[in-house]
Symmetry: C2
Subunit: 101 residues, 2 copies
């Protein structure tokens, strides 16, 4: 399934449904830094997010050091943001909400 690249009004609306994500307009990506209590919580979040990503067949770029996870989402094939990015962002929000920070 080829996803349609979203235009700015749709992006703004979907961003409004998330918390703490930053739009990089030129890169066509959204990003967020998640902070947890320790490595176990951070990697627990990553594991839950990885399952969601694999299910969506849409994967993050992410960096982890100890309790911090920096996430960047975009849809390479579409050259920007698609609904998949926001679906994955929402799944990650849910996974993070379950964990202390």
């Amino acid at each position: 399934m080829k996803m349609e690249k979203l235009e700015r009004p749709a992006i703004s609306q979907l961003l409004g449904e998330l918390t703490g994500w930053t739009l990089d307009d030129s890169a066509g990506s959204i990003s967020k830094t998640f902070k947890f209590a320790n490595f176990v919580e951070a990697f627990g979040f990553m594991t839950e997010s990885a399952l969601a990503a694999e299910k969506l067949n849409h994967h993050p770029e992410w960096f982890n050091v100890y309790s911090r996870v920096e996430v960047k989402l975009n849809t390479h094939d579409a050259g920007g943001l698609t609904e998949l990015d926001f679906k994955l962002a929402k799944a990650m929000e849910k996974a993070a909400a379950r964990r202390t920070d």
Copy 2:
């Protein structure tokens, strides 16, 4: 347990026991990029590495996008490399060797 910062001869010897790791002398770190067949293999490697890291109480800095995992190891508290970095590197080598690339 406070680990001793390793001097260059010890680092060279331990590096020689690993494959494909690069020493960044100024940063006091070693790094390697691992490539796998897909995200599931890459995250499987990360999961196995995470368990080893938690057991050692010594954690990596790492970046993942799809099938690629970039790892950097150093011991912040010691201001350089210690045996812990090489223990974790070896555990990661083992975890990677189990997976196709």
